[in-house]
Every structure is written in C-alpha cells, then in structure tokens.
Symmetry: D2
Subunit: 383 residues, 4 copies
C-alpha cells in the first residue's frame, strides 16, 4: 500500500519522486460543471514552488501543470482530472554519498529498510516535492469551496522563538502574501526573516508553525467517530512533511482550561438560530462543524537537510562518516508549507461537503437527469 | 465518485478520455524489487491496440507507454508507478452530430444526464479506449504473478453463433495469438473471421464471448462473503466494456446439474494433500480458491457503433433523426477484449495474493528491515 | 481482510457463523428520519428463514431481529444501526466427521487451508445462514428506495430443466410469493415443485436461477469504469452463495445478437425526453442506469450438501472415506435465495442513490442545518 | 457516512449510543490462531469503565463483553469477531431539558443540525461511552502486537497546570495503574488528584493530557504520504473524544529547535545496523517507523458536562435558558482516556503490521495452505 490517495469522494491519487521524470495527480470525484483551467491551479503552485525567494531552495522548477483529462470546453465533466508536472531541474549526483549512508532524520533509512531499495535522488518519494501534487488538487478543491461561500487561509505564525500575535482572517488575507515568510503580521515577518538569516548563516535550519482558518463552513460536516472532522483534519495535516503536531481550537492549551471557561454558551443569532457566544471550541463540536470558523495550527520541525556536519553510518562500508547535505534546501519549512496546509484543509472540507450532500457529487449546478449542453460553447449547435 | 480505481492493495487509478490529450494510470501497491521496464508493458498494449488487423478500428494509435515514477535502476521501488499514454489520432469532428443526439445503446445519454455534460469526442470517458490503462496495469500484475508461478490466458470462444470447442490451457497459450480473432482453435478462428466479415459487409456488428483460465493459483485467495474471489472477479469482468454476463465454472449450465453430478469428490494428490477429483467448481469453493485452475467466461455484446442507419432523438432540436455512426470501429469486441480480460483477471488475483499475505506488500524478495542496495546497479558504490 | 463489508456510503458489516451464538449486522450510512422498526425487517427475514416449507431445511430458526441502536422514537437518527439475530437451533454434532474430511465442493477445505482452522459447525462462516444479515440490511435499503419510487422484485425462473416463461413485473409482484418455489408463473411453479421432489427422493439436489428486476430507477446511477452499475451488481450477485453466473439485459444471449438488433433506438417520451424504444440493454448504458428497468439473472448451483454417498479424503487419517451429509438442508437454493438477491440489488441501488446525490446522506427530508425535533413524538416538549 | 469504521486490514466497525440497548463492535481482519477469550478483553474494559473511582462518573456499568462469533475452541478463526456490550444503567430522564436546548460545547446542536434529530439520552452517539467499543477491539490488537514483541502504554502526564516529569517506559508499566489518575509519577498523581478535587468542588471540570509510547515497533510501518504512520496516528488520536491536539516526538516544541539539534545522527548497533543516536524524531522518519520507540501526546479538553450554570438557547421556545448538567460525569477525562489512547495506538499499529506484511493476514502461525486442526482441542479426533 502506497498511501498515495486522499479523500473518500473527492479523491486525490499522486505519483512522482523528487528527481523522477514528472509528478502527477489524478483528481476523481470533482463534480461536473466547474469552470477550470490550468490558470486556476498555477497560482497556488507558484506560491509553493522552489526558487521564489532567498529563503527557499534555489532549485529551478517552473512547476507548470498540464491538465490531461476531465475537461470539456473549459468546464469539468465529472470524469477524472489527470494532471502532470514535469521535473526540470533534478541534479542527483550529489545524493550518491547518501545511498548507503542515510542522512540524519530523513526518510533515507526507513524507505530503504521498508522496501530494500529507494529512489535516492533528492530524497525520492519522501521529498516535500511531492506536495506539488497536493497543491494542484487543493486548488480545485478551493475553487469548489469558494462557490459554496467557504474561504480558507493559512499564514506562518511562528519561526523558532519568534511568535506572531493573533491576527484576524482579514489580516491574513491582506498581509500573508506580502512577505517571503508568509506571516500576516508585517513586523513579526521582518523579525522572522532576520532570525532565519541567522540560522542560515550558521549552516543550520529552524522549525516553525502555521496557523490556518476556514470561514463560511456550514454546520454539519464530519462523520464521527473515526472520521470526525477533527480526526480527518488530523490525518490531513499530520501528512504534511515535517509535521510534529496538529492542534485545533485551543490546542495544547486546552489542558489548562476549565470546563466553565472553555465551554461556549449559546445565544440566538439574528435569524433566531442558536449560535455560540464564543469560539473556543474551534468550529468543531462532537466531531462535526458548528458553523463557526475552523481554526488550528500545525508545527513543522526544522528542515533536516543542513550544511552543518553530521554523523551517519554507512551500512555498506560499515563505517561512521561525517556528511554535509549540500543540496539546495530551504532553511525553514513553513513559508512554502502555507499553500500545502491550505490544500489539505481544502481537500478535507470539500470531501465532507460531498459526504454530507452539501455538494452534489455529479454536478455543481442543474438537476440530476438534465442533459443540457450549456457547458459546450464549442458545440456548433450552440452557436 | 468516479469509479476510476480498482484494487484494495494493488491499486489502479486511471484517467483519460478517448479524444483527450492522454490516457494515464497510477499503480500503487506494487512491491519493490520487481524488474520492470516499458517493454514489459508494451507487449500487451500492442495486443489491445487499434489498427492491428482488418477486424479492428483503423484508428492509428502507437499506444506507447511512458513510465514516470516508481522505478530505480530498472526495478520497482514500492512507490507509485505513474504511466502516461499519449492519444495521437483523435478526430472528433464526426462526433459533433451526436452531441445532443445520443447514439443508440452508447453511454452518450446516460453520461449527459448524470453530469449535465460530457466529453463527447469518440465517446469520451465511456470509450473502450480507457482499457489501455487497465492493460498497462495488468501487465505489471501478470509479471508479479508469474514470479509466483501463476499463469493466465484468455481466448475468444464464441462469435455470434460460431462456438469453439473446449481447448486446453496449452492450446490457448500456443494458438490464441496466431490469428486475428484470438481464438485458440484454428479452424473455428477461420469460421469466426468469415462470420465477422459477413456482418461487416452488412454494416452491422456481432457479439461474442471470451474464455479465461488461470493456472497455478494457490489455495486460499478470496475474502468471503462480499469480497469472495468470485464476487471480485464478477466486479472486475462486469467492468469490461460491453460485458453482459460473467460465468465461472459451469456458469449458467449449473442450473441444470444435480448436486451429485456437480460436486467434486476428494482424493489425495502425490503429496498426500486432499485434491478434488474434478474441477466442475471452477477453482473456487466457498468463495476461496481451491488450488485448481480458475476458469470462466465473459459475454460481450455487439459493438454499438455501426454504419447501419439508426434512429435517435435530438434533445436540442426535439426531432427524431436518422444517424450512421461512421467512425472507425471494431465489428466485434472479443479479439481486442482478450488482453483486457486477462488484465482484469491478473489485477484481481494479484490483489488477493497481497491480501492473503502470499506476496509481501513491501518487497518481492529479501526480508523486511533489510536495507540492501542490490537493485542499484548504477550505484557507484556497487561497482 | 474478512470481506464482511458491502457498500461505500450505505455500508453493511456482518458477523456470525451458522452454529455460533448469533448473527449480526451493522448498517452505517442510513440517513436520519426514516421510520423504522423491527417489523419492517422481519417480513423479509421470514421469507428467507429455514423451515418455511417442505423444500427448505427443517432447522427451526425464528430469525427474530433485534435492533440495538440508531433509532430514536421510531425513526432512524443517521447513526449506525446495530442488529442482532440469535441462533437457536444449532446442532453441531453431526458435523464432527467432516472436521478433517472436507465435504465435496463446500468451503470446508478452502477455509481450513486459508486459516489453518475453521468454525466447522454447520459450515461456519461459509454457510448460507450468513445471508440473514444481508436480508436484514436489504430490508432497510428497500424501504429507503421505496420512498424514492424504486421498486424491486425477484422470482425463481428456472429449476433444473424447468424454465418459466417471461413474466411481467406485475406478475412477479402478484404471484411469486404464492407458492413455495417463489416462481411467479403458477403452472411452472407446480412443475418445479414436482421436479424438486424427484431429486429429493433420490437423495440429490438441483440447481436453478433467479430473475430480478428493478423499476423506477432514475437515470444516472453508476460510477464507470470499475464501479459501473453492472460491475457492482456483478460483485453483489456473485457474492450470493452458490452463484456461478450473473447476467443483465440479454446476458449470455448477447453473444449471438447483432449490433443493429440489440441497439435500442431513441424516441421521445411524453415529456419530450429521449427514451429508448426497447430495453434490450437491461437498463444500463455505459455502466450508468438509463432510466429503464434494470433486469437480469443469477444462476445458483445445486446445494452441495446431499444425502447421496460421496467420497472425501480425511487429511488426519490419510484415508479416503465415504460420507453422507445428513444435516437439514435445502434440496434447491433459489426459493430462499429470492429475498437474498433482492437484498443485494437493493443494497447496490441505495448505495448509488447516495453516491449520486439522489438521496441526501444525512437525512431523508428537511434541509441540512435544520435541527427540528419532529421525529421525537416522545419528546415531552412536543406534546 | 457514519465514520464508525477504523482500519484498512484490521477493521473495526462499531454501533451504539450512550443510552441505547447495547454497544457493539465487529473486528474484521484478525488473523486466525490467536488464543482469545472474553477475559483478554475485560481487563481493558474495566480500566475504562465508569464508576471505578471518585473521579469518574458514578454510572454503574459492568461493561461485560460477550463475543458472538469468530472463535472456535478458544482460538480466532480469521472470521469477523462480533462483540456486544449491554447498557445497563441508562437514565435518560434528566436529558429531556436539553432536547431542544443544546448543552454548551457538546455535540447536541451539531448532531441535531446535521441529522435533523438525535439520540438525546446521555449524549447518544456523541458520548464517550462509544469508546467502550474501541477498547474492546484494541485489546485484541494489543494481544496480536504482544506476540510480535510490541508493547505499548499510556499514562496521564498533565491535569490542568500540574505536569508530570518525564518517566521511563518501565515506570509507566509499573506505576500508571497504581492510582486513580493513572499518572506514572506517584507524587504528581497525588497533586493531580487534589487539583481535580478542587475543580470538582467548584462544580467545574479541568483539561489534561496523555502521554503514550510504543516499544518494539519494527522499522518499516507506515504508508507515506497520506497514510504515513504519523498521519494515521493523527487521525486515530484526534478521534478520541475531547482531543484538541496531537503531538509526536518533540511535538509543538519542534518549532523552536534547530535542524542540527533535532536531527539524530546515525551510529551502529551491536548487530552492525544503523541506529539513531537519539530519538528526538519520535520513532517516525519520513512517515515510516524507524525502529525506535514511538511516543507522543494527546491533549483532552475539560469535560463539557459541568454542574455550574451555563446559558443555552432553546430553539423550540426561542428563549435563552440557564442550565446545569447534573448527570453523572467525569470531572476530568485523561484517567479513563488512557486505555482509549492505548487502544487507538494498538489499532493503528496492528493495521500497519498487516499492511506491511509483518503479520500474515490469514493466520498468526503456520503456513498458508496448511489445513491443520491444532486449534481444535474439542475436536474428538484430536483426543
């Protein structure tokens, strides 16, 4: 089993290794009738791609997505959407020393021990490069969610010991893409950037975290118990490379809160519906969305590939060796992780929108059984 | 939900439409350590491809497969195998009349009614062209099965009213690929070819059936009740385009057999193990393989695309129209269906080999935990 | 993997062996708001239960279902419906001779070889008794389908060489439950009964087949390619104990039909929608329901448990022995198989109704987000 | 979809509501040949059950499990294991006020809004009572893991602001069950108990956290990317009622660690195999187990049911009301959560042991194809 699939109704299936010929992603279960082109996807890919700033790897990848199927005249048809992204700038040579001498805290040893072999160039299948597929699929999910009034955003709220103060969703929308760190609090962003530079100079790397939020999520998403919204978000976010913690709502702080303080009383909203006075519950109650914003946080450990000298054990020679991972690597993961976290959030939510019948699985508009041709501008009969 | 996935541990995910840019297939769950190149796959693709004889469509498709991932130095690595097959010879123009006037007994109307739209060129996603993906995946499955001593083969045993006599597995291996019809009984093959020519001249098409057999299947495959070997073969074979019946063992004839006649007494084999005296049960007992050959039959209806004039209802104009489906089409499906049936048989069996622990899911040889580099001839350390 | 689960959204999970303490079935994914009690289920269980006539086993099982969860005040709540059916009349003693001497063409040997052991009493997990769970789950599915205007029915159309003429859906509804054979053609039913008696007297058993039909199925159900409606029906029906063939539409006869004859021209119905002139396609086109009735046939081989002496091989003593299976067994399977086939048809259809968004997965009426209490007659606030 | 299933090969399916007739759980995919009786399960159930101490609810439930299937002569048979646990002490009356006036931060509102109704007695399906099923299934998983040398344990490491110092695995085994709080550090346990008493007196409740660890996990478990070991643990643990955070390895602290500090150098162990010098990575590298202990932490918020007065909005009367949740409730969740966390850890690990071929899916010993009868002490032939 490869673990290359995500989603029950909105299904993503991926392939590709860091230094292979191409990355690829098949999205199944996207309803028909969604206007979609490569441009809708490219924006998020550009936010994730390497080489975009001084604090990302210098590997030069255009990450241009090519849609191979599932579209007719600019609209989805309900059939699988195949996407391929060519790898252009793979330089495997410098990974040869690590073939039998695993890099510390990478997947080198575990992959080799599991499979007896591995794609060793650039970390192969274990590389964060794989998330290019997730972001491509997530962009489609986002577009579907936007139609339903669901907006989501992430930003970097911690790098090392530099923490950003709480920001509003509007601030996230406005500021998080203004700086290379993707922190929605401009002053903190500068501080973060300085701190990253310090570690970079030392040949080291540093951890951090990403805050995410979704607005407009209707009440009723989630399939408790094992597939509660929090459980599935847990899986989605813990799959993000280098993640060591997932929190929603109060997260780890909840350990110190009393029931009275954390519980959110009910009042009525303008339409006379019950609505929580506060949102300490993080938008999920009993494993199901409450209609309040869903928010949480993901911790990413420091990149394991660092120029500093480390010790490894070469299983072929039987000798301990000193190694430096000189490749082109990010000194910190959260900035490029922001679109990845957004993608996983979007994929989780859109799957539950389908699972709860909020989105029709066959088509985004019209009624089942209608066989219109409105999505066919090229249909000569329509002209 | 797209229905583009097959298998629980050996997982196939496909995309592509008849006249789209490319067909594609991701195989997940293939263990590491299997020697594999495009050549291993191309042979079966060539047996399925159009334009190979007078009784297949003249569409010119090289059907050259390109493996994008999952291989290192000629061996599988246990990671997803992405494959892409370009479409080269799509001519959609002549399908325009059918956009709103569905061809009789095709998927034109049902796809449009389900999704409100469809890829109309060449039948789009409903085209038998999609099976190119299945055959590519099936070729990998066959190679894995061959390592375990499992061989399988199919041949055409009926075209219209021309039925082949029973043939042995050896005859199937020897003769089925000698003629364009893929019937392992040479005289019958000639008769079938004549019959096909007659229908072709009349602008009509004809049905037929495919017999399949697997040898060397170990006892113990199958997960009764809902995932019994027969149930999963049922799903696999009924997914083959144009299939209207699936039978195994005595099939429909079993209705007329008594228990005493059909039951297979037990005797001992040379090693002293119980073994059935006959194989009227078709290699499956209680939903689990018995160790005897698994055999059965699949009926394929006549191709629905025929030059003869047919009546359709144009939902745009509201008028009944006469139409001729003038595309390039097969007059009969079983000959090109043979590698497709073999592929589905192989995919079903390899999945159960993994599910029953007969094949290690991580690697085809070595022990879990061994991190050898034997599959890396290009590893400079190995030279 | 046990193969004890069926369905993607309407999910059935079963447990139980023929001579175990109880049979059980958990239905997940049934929407809330369906009025449901044990009475809704008991009717079909009674049609399946042993001891109901001279041509069924005399084992005395009341097969009384007890619902353990998922109901509030007589309506489903959207949470899992747990059901348990006690086994009352198990007499394992006479199965002892078969522990190491497998009965011909049963699952005795395959289960023991797969697992190294087995529940040997009454055939254990391989017994047709397991279908009591399917029928219980199917009864819920039928009730959901009926709300949507979908009706389905099966009857016995062949026993040995006695075949019933084609009957209408109305005749099936009217006559199939009038006689012990469950054949909707009264004269044929008598003939079948005579034939069964003959085999019974000889200590033998006989095969047969069941015809099924569903009316009112909307266009658009099915997820081609691997989860086409025909593929999933294939799995569902081939899982029915003793099944050796599944056919839909023309079935095996399609091999001899030309394209022109089999193709169904299109005309307009009264509402001006395209509709096929005939239904030779069996209600499924391109793997998706066409709106026409879905019909097909399932062949069941003769019961393997027969009084006639058979030879087996005792793997413990290493000796060939003669055995008679003297238990209480049916001389023919289709009569009690009728509710089982209906159940599998219902389970397949209801799953696709959910997968295509025709049925809301959370609730059968009302809108998502409404938190009414109308299903709570016992709610004191409502009185 | 109900979300009542967990696991891909070792599959758990549950039913039951807090005040329903019974809870139930079907375990599918447990290999044959495991010695198993109700006693093996009851121990963990007793650790989870209510009424065991002053800091748990006083509801009186014996939680006696009854195995209904899947066992022959004291050994598993590879077929589904059905288990039922009767509810004995449900008193729904005091929940009537909450039918239309949702309790703060419970699942009352979200369930009603999703399904339009709910089982309101005792919280129904959203009650932590449901975890009785998980613990029953987890006990079987633990027994399988123990055979493979995998041991696991959890203990309470934080209640409110009282944190336990780090303890060894051996200390966890020795001390965690000695006190009512289930904290393996005896002095801290006393402090925790005092703190709980304080909140209890105030009519309030308090949060806390659980630390877990697994020893003896072989290298190679996990299916990156989406089904990495960390991702699936994330899902498993976030499904635990009241969980707001999941961490493994350094958890949220990783944000402040540099790469050099967090990376674990490699050395050789006594057998000459590469082994990490430290275990800051938490036993998972690249999503796959490294052979080092797996450890992490789960945060549980304070119980939402508290005697203190809270405000709610009655959607029927349209009035804001004050309510007190006077039922029998725990003032803190981690103590009874310990066996639940252990169960989810065990279920996740055993599933991957099967998925990676470390455990044979059909049987725990012997070879596939062997049809011995050694598990049948009651077999008269064996005596």
């Amino acid at each position: 089993m490869n673990g290359n699939r995500f989603g029950r109704l909105f299904q993503v299936t991926t392939f590709g290794e860091s230094h292979g010929e191409a990355m690829g992603c098949t999205v199944s279960g996207c309803p028909a009738g969604l206007e979609l082109s490569e441009d809708d996807i490219q924006g998020d890919l550009d936010r994730r791609k390497p080489g975009q700033s001084m604090i990302t790897t210098s590997r030069g990848e255009p990450d241009a997505v090519s849609i191979k199927s599932g579209i007719q005249d600019g609209y989805t048809t309900g059939t699988p959407i195949g996407m391929v992204i060519q790898n252009k700038d793979a330089r495997s040579g410098k990974y040869e020393p690590f073939i039998t001498a695993p890099r510390p805290s990478h997947g080198d040893f575990t992959y080799s021990a599991k499979f007896g072999t591995r794609n060793w160039g650039g970390g192969g299948r274990s590389s964060a490069r794989e998330t290019v597929n997730w972001v491509a699929a997530g962009a489609i999910a986002k577009k579907l969610l936007a139609r339903e009034g669901i907006e989501l955003k992430a930003h970097v709220n911690q790098i090392g010991d530099v923490e950003a103060p709480a920001v509003s969703f509007e601030e996230m929308l406005e500021h998080s893409e203004e700086n290379d760190v993707r922190c929605a609090h401009p002053e903190t962003a500068e501080e973060m950037q300085d701190r990253i530079a310090e570690y970079q100079e030392e040949g080291d790397s540093i951890g951090g975290s990403i805050y995410f939020e979704a607005q407009g999520v209707p009440v009723g998403l989630g399939a408790p118990r094992f597939d509660s919204l929090s459980a599935r978000l847990g899986q989605a976010m813990m799959a993000v490379p280098a993640t060591t913690a997932f929190e929603f709502g109060l997260g780890t702080e909840a350990a110190e809160w009393t029931g009275k303080d954390r519980n959110d009383d009910w009042e009525f909203d303008e339409e006379g519906d019950p609505v929580p006075v506060e949102n300490d519950h993080g938008g999920i109650q009993g494993g199901i969305s409450s209609g309040e914003p869903i928010y949480g946080e993901v911790t990413l450990h420091a990149p394991t590939s660092i120029p500093k000298t480390q010790q490894t054990a070469d299983w072929e020679t039987g000798e301990l060796t000193e190694e430096q991972v000189i490749g082109r690597h990010d000194p910190v993961l959260p900035p490029r992780g922001v679109p990845v976290v957004e993608a996983m959030l979007a994929l989780t939510l859109v799957d539950f929108m389908l699972l709860s019948g909020r989105l029709n699985p066959d088509r985004v508009d019209g009624q089942p059984g209608e066989y219109d041709t409105e999505y066919h501008p090229s249909n000569p009969n329509n002209q």
